[in-house]
């Protein structure tokens, strides 16, 4: 009932979201609390050999596994003969499920604490409030998490089941929690609340502390006062005639950090961010986790002992080389979804430019830049080779780049086992959840990733995700162009004619049908389309990313509602005068759509 209400509500509000990963259904009917993954090729932990095994899961736990099991009668069976099962990933640091503060939307991170023109409120010492200064260690991430955030399903579709999430903000945004990426209501996501303190090198812009030196000075003062408070609290409870310690929300909140009971996850992507965080740690002595690191190989010695854990960023620098697209370039480069014609045009243009200006100095710069890029790709491999433990965190990564970046790291020296370790057992250890998660073992949380091929191999794709016993299925689309913004310019007019014209459609959602029309037109070989419906009143009617491949057509429709961009993803099969297919909406699932041709183009 809840689900239906939610769906209707969503349609009424036209708040619809879609993801690229094509879940068949984000919400398979759960008639039983028992799932059996039958005869899968199981890698139970990183480094373990593949074993054919059946895994039985009940009430969110792995209850049995082995080769000749009696499968419970009430189990929902997944025939997995051709499939591979791995422990699902654990994200060591991220903002999955964390809402973007609305105020942050039109503001860069270094911006002023309040609207321009408005003077920040300052005390007699000229200091802004703790909030304006970005010092909110007392804040928990919990109130800013929303189960409906698209990032939850996006990262789940990439294989993640558990994440350590932190709030957004400035120098001390607040406390992080461990969540499970499955649940219908926000509370259900939370596993361990307030387990960490999140810190970053972000000043308060025009307010104090504005720069990195202000942030460090503020850290010293806060830490010193918390240490004093801690000592005085002990005196206060043990001895008579001791005045109550002065109360300061920030000092109070940092006491667990001073005690060493709460680690500080310090976001330190670049080399200087890392050296400054390490210097601060030496200075103050808190437990620290260097997080979101992109250049940690400079500090191998500091990380070797493991006393300062390390989380590597899943974001990799992009190749912004001018030669990109040059046929002669022998370097491997991550290709963006540019159409072929564009890069041909680019390279021919470049060829002309190169004849005109040959700048040996620039070429040397280019060589060194390429070397630096390579070193960034090699970070994980180099650290792993040296036996330095690390986890991966998605904080700065994008779901769409995840597979590409992991592969890039593997191409540059990281082994698949090491990658899996950094995505499962290592973060589990870091977050103190290794007894419950990180491997496929009886008694552990039923967090399993099921893929069509061995993980990280070419064309490997996730078929199912089990997150604490909740099943999510994904369809693998073959030979289909990925999400593209340009319409295929080579499509001939005759090929497009199967689609052009006006169509009526009906989307079936439980207890209701949503109807409207779709219109496709072709101009100079380019397809465009619009959608018309009583349900859609938000202005934009344009269909995007229209890809026609024979009788299959896919397109998306997105629009803004309440400041948020939402996307509907259509996937249709055309049969002359009618079509059927489905519409995917992240977090809501996939729905049948049928339609009839109303008219051909004039």
């Amino acid at each position: 009932m809840m689900r239906k209400l939610l769906l209707v509500l969503v349609f009424l509000l036209r708040c619809i979201v879609a993801i690229i990963a094509q879940p068949v259904s984000e919400d398979l009917p759960q008639v039983t609390g028992c799932i059996a993954l039958v005869n899968a090729k199981v890698v139970s932990a990183p480094g373990k050999p593949i074993q054919v095994s059946t895994i039985v899961m009940r009430d969110g736990l792995i209850t049995d596994m082995g080769s000749h099991l009696k499968i419970p009668a009430d189990a929902y069976r997944i025939t997995a003969d051709s499939l591979y099962a791995y422990p699902a990933f654990i994200d060591a640091l991220s903002s999955i499920g964390v809402k973007n503060p609305e105020a942050e939307a039109n503001k860069n991170t270094a911006g002023p604490p309040v609207n321009r023109g408005e003077r920040p409120v300052i005390d007699e010492e000229g200091n802004a409030s703790l909030e304006d200064a970005g010092i909110t260690p007392f804040r928990s991430v919990r109130p800013v998490v929303d189960v409906k955030e698209k990032s939850i399903s996006d990262w789940r579709a990439q294989g993640f089941a558990v994440a350590h999430i932190v709030p957004k903000g400035r120098m001390l945004p607040g406390k992080g929690s461990v969540i499970v990426l499955a649940g219908k209501v926000t509370d259900q996501l939370f596993w361990k609340e307030d387990v960490s303190m999140y810190a970053q090198w972000v000043g308060a812009g025009e307010g104090y502390p504005g720069t990195v030196i202000g942030v460090i000075a503020k850290w010293r003062e806060l830490y010193h006062n918390s240490a004093q408070d801690l000592a005085q609290l002990a005196s206060y409870s043990n001895a008579p005639m001791v005045p109550r310690p002065h109360y300061n929300q920030a000092h109070e909140a940092l006491i667990p950090v001073v005690k060493g009971a709460m680690p500080v996850y310090f976001r330190a992507p670049k080399i200087k961010d890392i050296s400054r965080a390490l210097a601060l740690q030496k200075d103050l002595g808190m437990k620290m986790v260097i997080s979101d690191a992109e250049e940690a190989w400079y500090f191998k010695d500091q990380f070797r002992s493991g006393s300062i854990p390390l989380i590597l960023s899943l974001a990799l620098p992009e190749d912004k080389s001018e030669k990109k697209g040059d046929d002669k370039s022998d370097e491997k480069k991550p290709k963006s979804e540019k159409s072929d014609t564009t890069s041909i045009a680019d390279s021919s243009k470049l060829a002309v430019v190169k004849v005109e200006i040959k700048d040996p100095e620039k070429e040397d710069f280019e060589k060194r830049r390429a070397q630096s890029l390579k070193e960034h790709y090699q970070q994980a491999g180099v650290l792993a080779k040296d036996g330095i433990p690390f986890s991966f965190g998605t904080l700065s990564g994008k779901p769409a780049d995840f597979t590409k970046n992991i592969k890039l790291m593997i191409d540059n020296g990281l082994s698949a086992d090491q990658a899996l370790t950094a995505l499962t057992t290592q973060p589990a250890k870091l977050l103190g959840i290794e007894k419950n998660a990180g491997t496929i073992e009886i008694g552990k949380m039923a967090n399993i990733l099921v893929s069509n091929k061995p993980l990280f191999e070419k064309d490997a794709a996730i078929r199912y995700m089990v997150v604490e016993g909740n099943l999510y299925a994904y369809e693998i689309k073959e030979k289909k162009p990925a999400h593209r913004n340009e319409t295929h310019p080579t499509s001939s007019a005759s090929a497009n004619s199967v689609l052009t014209g006006t169509w009526s459609y009906t989307i079936e959602i439980p207890d209701a049908k949503k109807e409207g029309t779709l219109e496709f037109v072709e101009k100079d070989g380019i397809l465009s389309g619009t959608i018309t419906s009583a349900d859609i009143t938000s202005g934009n009617k344009d269909l995007e990313s229209i890809v026609l491949d024979g009788n299959s057509v896919a397109f998306t429709f997105d629009f803004e509602i309440g400041g948020q961009l939402v996307v509907l993803e259509f996937d249709l099969k055309l049969n002359d005068e009618s079509f059927d297919g489905n519409v995917s909406i992240a977090d809501m699932g996939s729905f049948n759509i049928t339609g009839q041709r109303i008219s051909k183009p004039n």
């Binding site: 003077r119 300052i122 010492e125 000229g126 200091n127 308060a204 025009e206 307010g207 104090y208 502390p209 504005g210 720069t211 990195v212 030196i213 202000g214 460090i216 000075a217 503020k218 010293r220 003062e221 830490y223 010193h224 006062n225 240490a227 004093q228 801690l230 000592a231 005085q232 002990a234 005196s235 001895a239 005639m241 001791v242 005045p243 310690p245 002065h246 001073v258 005690k259 200087k272 050296s275 210097a279 030496k282 200075d283 002595g285 400079y298 620098p317 912004k320 080389s321 001018e322 100095e361 620039k362 040397d364 710069f365 280019e366 060194r368 830049r369 070397q371 630096s372 890029l373 960034h376």
Partner: protein
Amino acid sequence: MRKFIFLSMLFSFSHLFSQVPMGDMVIRNGTVLTMTKGTLTETDILIQKGKITAIGKTLKAPLGIKVIDATDEYIMPGIIDAHSHIGIDAVNEATNPITPEVKVGDAIDPFDLSIYRALAGGVTTSHAMHGSANAIGGQCQTIKHRYGLVDPAAFIFKDAPRTIKFALGENPIRVHGEGRGVQPRTRMGVERVIRDAFAKGQVYRDKWKAYELTKAKNPNAAPPLYNERYQTMADILDGKIIIQCHSYRADEILMLLNVLRDFGVKKITFQHANEGFKVAPELAAFGAMASVFSDWWAYKFEVYYSTAYNATILTRNGVVTSINSDSGEMIRHLYYEAAKTQRYGGLSDDEALSLITINPARQLGIDAKVGSIEIGKDADIAIFSGHPLSVYAVPQMTIVDGLVRFDKANDPNDMRIYIDPEEATPAYYGREEVDECMRGTDQMFFNHH
């Protein structure tokens, strides 16, 4: 619980030091301008573990030691710039008229190419200063130009006294009075802001002294709230920090001398001090020092009344004077800047070179270690093709701690250490860099020195 107090006391001003590489070498047969012990011709200098261990003719040196032939060349102590902003990522914490608690030493940038450029001009040590946006700016950091190392801590001049930036006149007035609508709006306001900070520092210091006394009798006594800002003011009052005050006009220089007298503060060097020549006897009587430009002025109203004889007049009045750059460009030719005092004022060779060696060392409190070529001092040395005060002289080699950090004969085109993986052409390529006082405030205000 004790251990937490102990812990919190421990961190306050300790800098954990990483191992800094030191070198051995012998420099043969050069003309050595020692600065303190005259000029020695055809002389060798032996360097072991980064220190000068012997100076003399045809010295015996350990077998296999690196030998540098300085025949027909001039050897002088590594040049010291008493006022610069190179090698740091943050210059101005311009969000409060007083920010004594911030330390630019926390934001050292080991990759700043300006450090290498400075080496190419024979400069081995510089005083990386907080900017002049605030009446009381942050603590500065004396750095050694160990370009090539990655650890920021390796650039810190070990055991150099703490220094702090003060700023008088137009800059703090513009940033805070005009820009942010808070005190100081006038020169009177600047004085008031500084006096107020010292007064609060006194109150703070007294509170803590009282607490320490009570604590001796009652271990459960409640400590006052810790305040990094006023703790730093208390440290200045206690003589633990040398003030380095950005100033131009004679009246404001005298104003600050009066303020310091009232609060019993003695250690101060006036930076820029373009009108220092007007109050040179007063500066000498106070024991204040001055670090000036050779001939740079008229870039704003308060810097119109200036003279190229400033350094000479100050020197002749007994004020310890240095010539500084306040610029990532001028730092490369401080020896020219020093030479100008011979044209304007007729200082002797040693007096002129003292302005960029032993005198700035005195002002920074590091003259026991650098600033002259003497046995036991750090092996920070610049070798020139001719006499460094000649316009024909070209720096050949710069040595820091007995290690060659610049060698004209081996000077690769691209000396960057850190390469941004997403930046094909470095940002400096064809663009000028700025390394001056008001860096970090230019989004809000005009950029001036």
